[in-house]
Amino acid sequence: MTETAYNFAYLDEQTKRMIRRALLKGLAIPGYQVPFASREMPMPYGWGTGGVQVTAACLTPEDRLKVIDQGADDTTNAVSIRSFFQRTAEVETTEATADATVIQTRHRIPEHPLTEDQILVYQVPIPEPLRFLEPSEVETRKMHALEDYGLMHVKLYEDIARHGTIATSYAYPVKVEDRYVMDPSPIPKFDNPKLSDSPAIQLFGAGREQRIYAIPPYTQVVSLDFEDHPFDPSKADHPCALCGATTSYLDEVIVDDEGGRMFVCSDTDFCATRRGEAA
């Protein structure tokens, strides 16, 4: 079903132009948070309105769209966003990472390596990596401008002093091209290494907070750490119970009343493809 009453990909062309300007600025200053006049979307704030606006501004009728939430194509919100673009843009959709030209994601980077022909769009809840150290936006913008990241380093140091390790497991802060400290959205830190030197364009949209930022292809992205406490992209120490993969990020699933559990790939396309190959 098409909704002909709405423009291609829902947003009007002026709004898309405004978003594209913010995207270009973001790409020109990697890791810098560009304010943009986020629109009210027909889904709630917190459901990926930033990502949806970025995707809408990037889509062309020839695109093939993949939408994942928690790595999976069949989680309810991924289904909902995919059907939104089917209705409003009539673009082809796919679950295969390799076949997609635009991938909108919440909380994961696909396991399958991305290419120069792909755009990865992240949904971002809180774009400001310093927010939980300093609640004021006026102050945090100043800190970024002055490259004043001492507070963040003190926080990481205090983690080590108290817990012996950096107690951040997702939304782990990174530094982009040795300049801006950036929130990679709540991806598990396991995914952080994939941010760096990626051939794909990575775009981040935070609708409620009205911010867009970007990582251009082949950009250096470093997870913050200390020489004597290097960054550790850990994951559950198991193979996937379905496909046997040992290198993918795993979800823990409770399978019986006794608390028995199994570990399976969070990336459903990656897991299904491996099982298809094995069969």
């Binding site: 009007d12 304010p35 943009f36 006049a37 986020s38 629109r39 009210e40 979307m41 027909p42 709630p44 704030y45 917190g46 459901w47 309105t49 993949k66 939430d69 928690q70 790595g71 194509d73 069949d74 989680t75 309810t76 919100n77 991924a78 289904v79 909902s80 995919r82 059907s83 009539e90 082809e92 959709t93 796919t94 679950e95 909380h107 994961r108 809840p125 004021s136 936006e137 006026v138 817990h163 012996g164 390790t165 497991s169 997702y170 939304a171 709540p186 991806i187 598990p188 830190k189 396991f190 409620r208 009205q210 850990s234 994951k235 559950a236 990020y249 795993l250 979800d251 823990e252 969070s266």
Partner: protein, 363 residues
Amino acid sequence: MYVATKGGERAIANAHAWLAEERRGDTDIAELSVAQIRSQLRLAVDRVMAEGSLYDPDLAALAIKQARGDLIEAIFLIRAYRTTLPRFGSTRPIDTGAMTCDRRISATFKDAPGGQVLGPTFDYTHRLLDFALLAEGEIPEAPRAEPRTEPTPHIVEFLNREGLIQQEAPTDDTPPDLTRQPLELPAERPLRLQSLARADEGFLLGLAYSTQRGYGRTHAFVGELRIGTVEVEMDIPELGFAIELGEMIVTECETVNQFTGSKTEPPQFTRGYGLVLGQSERKAISMSLVDRALRWKELGEDDAGVPAQDAEFVLYHGDNIQATGFLEHIKLPHYVDFQSELELIRKLRREAEQAATRQEAAE
């Protein structure tokens, strides 16, 4: 065209179908019409128009019906619709001095030109459930009086003549619009007022109440509260004059606040201002108290460090559509983040247990 489908899609479709049934309710009972909501639940309609930032009683009533009476959900429907509307231009500022008032009261003067007009208020009703409303029935006709034909002057202007109240500098600048530009701080008063006019009534009520209880006290009196109909006019360049587009009901509140002077300002009264679409005096009064509290810097008052003085706090947290979205999003799947937290907690516990064992061994 290949369409990726799995279980989630059917679950969503079924949930929507069930929701539609629940909305309709018992089919043995007559369906509620949009016209009934518009005329009999008018204050709910007004709230949806005010916080939805769209003056259209029919659409607001439709939204309330569709949202099953959940007003924040109805506001959300109106906001989402509003963003898709093309913008033809801007109207002239409405002239509330020319308002046809249904209600107009002042707490600062016993009488003033135009008089005190109570209008359709709950104020002096006894809050006793009226069981007669359980049955349908006619109501007696209210007494009628000749309406005033001349404009009703703003009461606070009488203080202005004596120079006792702070002058607001007139300006022809186009006010900013936070639905078109990202909110950037520091926010000037026009932007703050726009944000407050759209803000959640309950949030503003709580903040305004906090100033009354001492968290940034501003000694407010209601100088004037008026509710009524104003004309909306727009300049048409091709015609070279303004034409009337229609009328709308607004609520306006001006508070008069005691002010003993500061380093930059002489002792005088100051104002807080509230203007809300539709009839909502609770919100208009709240808005004017919060507006006044936010003006501490321009009036050279002390920063008491209270929530109602902190523009960033107020503007970033007053929008109920933003707030409810972000609050409720935590019910969406977070398996991936939670999994990484599980791993971290297990690791920290392992290390803590090992440390405890080492400690025991050493002792």
